[in-house]
């Protein structure tokens, strides 16, 4: 259960190249802002098309010279840096959005389990705009997990949080790694986060 990625992604007038070897646990993409870390995640989930290379997760080919699955068929849970909760839907409907679309065989938790796991049971009827940064981030993680993904991609999930909240989310991420044994691709520019979480660090830039 891990990533096997080697891609070249055009970004503006240059190319972002990255190789990620299959390693169990969390792989951190580390580097300064603007180096193309988010571009790599976008390419892995299928929102941006690499010029060449391959993307495999747990043996399934999502992209190579002959394959280019659309995002909805890649099964990558993507936790965006800016959350991107649907503003017109309640927390409950945000959480269930991907769950309803996932084939039952791919689901590995239900709403009750996810809300308990993330400590968000009392937020279900709230509107996303009323959530704090830490709450919104938990909901975004829950939404991704409930879509039954084969891997989780997280783009600086701690960057907008204060120290207390960071620790809470970091513990959630460790539990996703340990309890759900889901491969995680984790983008950060913070050395301490990366040292604490990652089994493999891929430096960009």
């Amino acid at each position: 259960m891990s990533f096997d990625i080697a891609i070249e992604v055009p970004r503006g007038d240059r190319t972002v190249s990255v190789r990620i070897a299959p390693v169990t646990g969390i792989t951190a993409l580390f580097g300064p802002s603007g180096v193309g870390k988010t571009t790599v995640l976008d390419a892995v989930v299928g929102l941006v098309r690499p010029a060449s290379g391959h993307v495999r997760i747990a043996g399934a080919t999502l992209f190579d010279a002959n394959t280019n699955l659309p995002p909805e068929r890649r099964g990558c849970g993507y936790v965006f840096q800016d959350g991107r909760l649907f503003p017109h839907k309640s927390v409950r409907d945000n959480l269930l959005y991907g769950w309803k679309l996932a084939p039952p065989s791919r689901r590995f938790m239900d709403l009750a389990e996810a809300t308990r796991f993330l400590g968000i049971a009392d937020l279900l009827d709230r509107a996303p705009r009323t959530l704090s940064g830490g709450e919104a981030q938990r909901v975004a993680i829950g939404r991704a997990l409930l879509s039954g993904p084969r891997a989780l991609l997280m783009d600086e999930p701690l960057s907008s949080l204060d120290a207390d909240r960071r620790d809470g989310i970091m513990r959630v991420i460790e539990r996703i790694r340990d309890d759900l044994s889901l491969p995680i691709l984790y983008v950060s520019h913070d050395r301490a986060e990366v040292d604490r979480l990652a089994a493999q660090v891929v430096e960009l830039g």
Partner: protein
């Protein structure tokens, strides 16, 4: 109160305006989507064509419709051979004229509301398993809906007021094409019909005010945007 004839005129006006909106909304939505989302050669030309009824004198638009849908026009001949139908002197022609005059306003309102929706939300929906169509229908469309509603109201009000293109294209036939503005204009030519003019003018004002209030309500309901136009 309105006389039976005047009620008939109000009813005809509503029928023409509603048909105009029903006809124009799908077209306006498709055009707004294409103009908001796609880049292709000829985009500027399409944008200009859509806006043409807004800048042309309505009489010219009506004359162009007459050329195309008249007895000898390509559109008119096609309708005649395919369906044995004609738009000339018919309320359907009045609806077409009103719809075309409303088109640019509706396209603008819908396009702005589509452009105001964060496209990254659609990307998020895709990563959660939604096809492009489902992502659009479940995320972008509901978020753009107040703008679509405003477009409908605006188009409806514009259609109710349509005069120049209508009278040029389908003339001023009582019971068929004589909508409120045409009826008021006609009554003004008749000595002693001032009371009728007043009553129909009040009916026009009330209908327009009602449309405006619905539009304000739709825009206010959507707190994230302060205005649609």
């Amino acid at each position: 109160m309105l006389s039976p004839t005047e009620w008939g005129i109000v009813a005809l006006s509503l029928k023409v305006a509603l048909a105009a909106i029903g006809l124009t909304l799908p077209v306006a939505f498709a055009l707004a989507w294409v103009l908001a989302r796609k880049s292709f050669p000829g985009r500027m030309l399409l944008d200009t064509l859509v806006h043409l009824p807004l800048v042309l004198p309505p009489v010219v638009t009506g004359w162009l419709l007459l050329l195309f849908f008249g007895r000898n026009g390509a559109g008119g001949r096609a309708l005649e051979t395919l369906f044995g139908a004609t738009l000339m002197f018919r309320w359907t022609g009045a609806a077409l004229a009103a719809g075309i005059m409303a088109l640019p306003l509706m396209v603008r309102a819908i396009r702005l509301s589509l452009e105001a929706v964060d496209r990254r939300l659609e990307s998020a929906a895709r990563t959660l398993g939604a096809s492009p169509l489902r992502a659009f229908a479940s995320v972008t469309l509901p978020l753009a809906l107040p703008g679509v509603g405003a477009a409908v109201v605006l188009g409806f009000a514009r259609s109710l007021g349509e005069f120049g293109a209508t009278i040029t294209f389908v003339s001023n036939v009582p019971g068929e094409t004589r909508t409120l503005p045409l009826a008021i204009y006609t009554a003004l030519q008749v000595p002693g019909a001032e009371d009728s003019v007043t009553r129909m003018a009040i009916a026009s004002v009330l209908l327009s005010l009602a449309a405006l209030m619905v539009s304000e309500w739709l825009v206010r309901k959507d707190g994230r945007r302060s205005h649609v136009l």
